[in-house]
């Protein structure tokens, strides 16, 4: 595949190197002069200097071919949004991927339809929360395209669901239980599965239903 990686910081440079070693054709774009010189020693003609939000820089990098994919990995969320919009809407690039630096900017990417996105901070946060012994609800995976997400809920002693079978629980519309982990053993949840205190339950649901799910499973919101 032919890919443009916009932003030659650590993320972009490591990505470009990996893509090249997997046999892909890559053009890396970096704006800062000192950083560019460093990258040029390694990437030679595969790195180009310039501001990847400038149309002529993108065109020099071959965006009009167009590439199979553009990946915006700069340290600036506004720049990543603009790079993706230009790539997709001006040049018809079929697939864009954007890095989100500040998780508070995620709603802007969503609003403008920039997807998929990758946010290292949010991924780390989810992993940390998963390890917190007494967590209530953790977002494990977002399936943006499918408009679904997978969450983990810890059933506590006070939960109204303790001792109930799954098919006796009225779950919010647009949500379903996937599995139950008890004493380190995972089982697929079916209608007869009984919930117990301490269970870790995986659920799949439409975004925005998490409060309802918490109310049903934990009697909390």
């Amino acid at each position: 595949m032919y890919l443009i990686v916009a932003g030659g910081g650590k993320v972009g440079a490591n990505l470009a190197r990996s893509l090249i070693s997997h046999g892909h054709e890559v053009t890396l774009i970096e704006q800062r002069g000192d950083r560019f010189e460093m990258l040029e020693e390694e990437f030679e003609h595969q790195v180009q200097r310039g501001d990847a939000t400038e149309v002529f820089v993108l065109e020099q990098a071959g965006i009009a071919r167009p590439p199979d994919m553009v990946i915006a990995t700069t340290g600036d969320d506004e720049d990543n949004i603009i790079i993706c919009q230009l790539a997709r809407e001006k040049y018809g690039v079929p697939k864009v991927i954007a890095r989100v630096n500040d998780p508070r900017n995620q709603p802007h990417f969503d609003l403008l339809g920039i997807s998929p996105t990758v946010c290292a901070t949010l991924s780390l946060l989810a992993l940390v929360e998963h390890e917190v012994p007494e967590h209530e609800l953790v977002h494990l995976l977002e399936l943006r395209k499918e408009n679904l997400e997978i969450v983990e809920v810890q059933i506590d002693q006070g939960s109204p669901c303790v001792g109930k079978a799954v098919d006796k629980i009225t779950l919010p519309a647009g949500s379903q239980l996937i599995s139950v982990v008890r004493n380190g053993q995972a089982k697929i949840a079916d209608g007869d599965t009984m919930l117990e205190a301490g269970d870790q339950v995986l659920a799949i649901l439409e975004p925005g239903k998490t409060d309802e799910l918490k109310r049903v499973l934990l009697n909390k919101r």
């Binding site: 939000t53 002529f56 603009i82 230009l86 809407e89 001006k90 900017n105 609003l111 403008l112």
Partner: protein, 144 residues
Amino acid sequence: MKAIVIGCGRVGSSVAKRLDGEGWDVTAIDEKEEALNRLGANWTGGFVVGHGMDDGVLREAGISEADAVVVATDGDNTNLVVAQVAQKRYGIDCVVVRVLDPARAEFYAARGLRTVCPTSTAIDVLTESVRACEIPQVVAEEVT
């Protein structure tokens, strides 16, 4: 009528003062508190310190009730993203955005943003000014 001016530099502050003088209820937003000084000692409009990408800041400035939004920070990409947020999330029809790069200004204008490009204006005016100069016509000497 309520206007929000995001980016209170030389341009933003002047736009804010003019609109205020014409009876608009204006709130300015800037990352730097010192930007308030640009609005003058008699400024009675609103002023919020913060970044235009921050929804909390936009709401504090009253974006939900705004009739017009002017986006004029010193970053083209910030301006373009903030303008789209104002238009798409808050449904504001009158969003005017300063974009220094003519290529991006043209692209986003075609997508429905009211972009204003001072660079294009400068190019047009400068070219026109040269054309308007009265330069004595040099009669071409015939080459023999």
